[in-house]
């Protein structure tokens, strides 16, 4: 149970840190914290997908589904309250992941990234081409903030909402991770052939992880849409995808604290180099390479150490 409790601790600590930071920090700091909170939801939901061994490159496109659902459902003729629309956005994202899982989950390893990479691009093209529904390349603007907020335009209250959603989703993912299904998902991620030989339905569990992870991405997409007040195809950009993947790579995905620390590290670099934004991708790239090579070297070192005094 200790792993489950550690993950819960990480999530609650992060939620509290966001809220406290919000009250203490400057106006601009608020903006950074809100962005960090929403991206953390994205990173946590992405980590859930990686536990089944699949590093999807369609995560940001699926997040777009959440954003567009909120944009469409919160306006006439549907007129749903924004929070309900956000949850609906998560469900639509999960539904799309279910549809996508048939072609994509049949592939392994290298093919998985390629096909999700292309599926994400296809989804982004759909947002551009189906102009009547999605407003084409100029997207849909003037999305309201959630009504339940006392005064919607205040960033601090939005930050508290993000922190609340983050903690809720964090608890859901932590319990999933420690549950029977979660352990099996990780088993499939570690050795699929062995898992199916002892009776675990590997395909179903990989699909489960992909769908539940995409649900979180949809919720994050909805929050991004209400925060920015606009959603457009250009929000689905490779840099954000790389940031999510880099956070999981640098931080490691065994526990929740890994991706969150990774994301914090990347955001810090982004802020420190705000004056020279063109260097940010390079510095991220360098640290990802170091993390992978260093991790590989460290793991080798660990293996030797374990063997020596096993």
């Amino acid at each position: 149970m200790s792993a489950f409790r550690r993950d819960l601790m990480t999530v609650c600590a992060l939620g509290a840190a966001l809220v406290v930071g919000g009250f203490v920090g400057s106006n601009y700091m608020l903006g950074v914290l809100v962005l960090f909170g929403m991206t953390s939801i994205l990173v946590l939901s992405y980590r859930t997908i990686t536990t089944m061994g699949g590093w999807s490159f369609a995560h940001i496109a699926i997040m777009g589904i959440g954003g567009y659902s909120v944009a469409i459902l919160s306006k006439p003729p549907f007129g749903l309250p924004v929070l309900v629309a956000t949850v609906a956005g998560g469900l639509f994202a999960a539904l799309f992941a279910a549809l996508l899982s048939y072609p994509v989950l049949r592939t392994r390893q290298y093919y998985f990234f390629l096909s999700t990479f292309a599926a994400g691009e296809a989804l982004r093209q759909c947002f551009i081409q189906f102009r009547e529904i999605t407003g084409g390349t100029s997207g849909i603007a003037f999305i309201e903030r959630p009504e339940i907020l006392p005064n919607p335009s205040s960033t601090l209250e939005f930050l508290c909402l993000v922190a609340a959603v983050l903690v809720l989703l964090g608890i859901f993912y932590a319990s999933l991770d420690a549950s029977d299904a979660g352990l099996k998902i990780k088993a499939v991620g570690e050795d699929e052939a062995l898992s199916s030989s002892i009776g675990i339905d590997a395909w179903a569990l990989r699909a489960l992880a992909f769908i539940l992870g995409s649900f979180g991405a949809g919720i994050a997409g909805g929050l991004f849409a209400t925060y920015n007040g606009i959603v457009s195809p250009s929000d689905i950009n490779a840099m954000l995808m790389f940031k999510v993947v880099a956070a999981c790579v640098i931080g490691g995905t065994t526990r929740f604290s890994g991706p969150i620390l990774g994301l914090l590290f990347l955001t810090l670099i982004e802020e420190i180099f705000r004056v020279v934004p063109e260097f940010v991708p390079m510095i991220w790239g360098v640290f990802v390479i170091i993390a992978i090579l260093f991790g590989q070297w460290a793991r080798g070192r660990l293996m030797v150490w374990r063997a020596k005094n096993a």
Partner: protein, 287 residues
């Protein structure tokens, strides 16, 4: 007739994008996300050679030197990539995929610092147009078609006939089996990566004059190359050639008959369809 020539030239473009990647991917089952950047570096190498040498030696020769320099530079990069990333991360395709993805951003930023963000363009070394019964084929495109054909044929001969080629094919079919036969898979891997990277460089040199070269041109070409490899089939270089032809004809016809803006959508849709019907691609054999 003009459409036919356009299909031919577009097929050769796509072949240029995908050939190097198909070779590396086919043999070593790894995806070099920085492949697009090698293509771009090839183009910039040619740009440098042409802008400095063409006054002395004239366009075509300067371009040829540029192509050779491009091949050498990208080949060297392939070697460095193999030594620093492929060897330590040999059996983990995910780690290589993400570290080459990171490498692509690093290379882009470096090239931007040297050449500036504004796209440059190479004065076409071969001017003029060749006429085929009313339809025209610009000389610089003829060069690309020529390079594509030479590379494909050369690769075919090299793989089928030469000793090193046979070793590469052995490793492609069954890495473990090849190891047992005493083939030093690491050396073959290095050769393949150098070959694949320099093919990308040469193609960059060939495509340079007919497209605007910018530090970010790699990403677009890479996306198309991925699609072609998936549709072409696993580990099958000739599958990639066939898929390049399929997309060459499809995309030309679509932009000819007014559906130009749906290109990206249809390419991705074709890829997803092929994946769900035959996961190993049209011509690939089951993994």
């Amino acid at each position: 007739m003009q459409i036919l020539l356009n299909c031919l030239s577009l097929t050769s473009f796509y072949l240029c994008f995908a050939l190097g990647l198909a070779l590396v991917f086919g043999v070593m089952r790894i995806i070099n996300f920085a492949h697009g950047e090698f293509f771009m570096i090839g183009a910039y190498a040619t740009y440098l050679c042409i802008s400095t040498l063409s006054p002395q030696v004239g366009g075509p020769v300067a371009w040829a030197i540029g192509a050779i320099v491009a091949a050498a530079v990208t080949g060297l990069l392939g070697l460095v990539l193999h030594r620093t990333m492929v060897v330590p991360l040999g059996d983990k395709p995910l780690a290589i995929f993400i570290s080459t993805l990171a490498l692509s951003y690093v290379i882009q930023t470096i090239v931007v610092q040297i050449f500036g963000p504004v796209g440059l363009s190479i004065a076409p070394p071969m001017r003029g147009v060749v006429n085929f019964g009313g339809a025209i084929l610009p000389a610089s495109r003829l060069v690309v078609i020529g390079v594509a054909v030479v590379l494909a044929a050369g690769l075919w001969v090299f793989l089928m006939r030469s000793e090193a080629g046979r070793r590469i094919r052995a490793v492609a079919q069954n890495p473990r089996g090849a190891l047992l036969q005493g083939i030093r898979t690491e050396k073959v891997g290095r050769l393949t990566l150098i070959l694949g990277s320099s093919i990308a460089g040469i193609c960059g040199a060939a495509m340079g004059p007919i497209s605007q070269i910018s530090p970010y041109m790699g990403a677009g070409t890479l996306w198309k190359a991925f699609i072609i490899i998936i549709v072409g089939g696993i580990g099958n270089i000739w599958g990639a050639v066939a898929a390049a032809a399929i997309f060459g004809v499809l995309d030309t016809l679509m932009s000819q008959f007014g559906a130009g803006r749906f290109l990206a959508l249809t390419s991705a849709a074709v890829m997803l369809f092929v994946l769900s019907v035959k996961p190993s691609g049209l011509f690939g054999e089951k993994e």
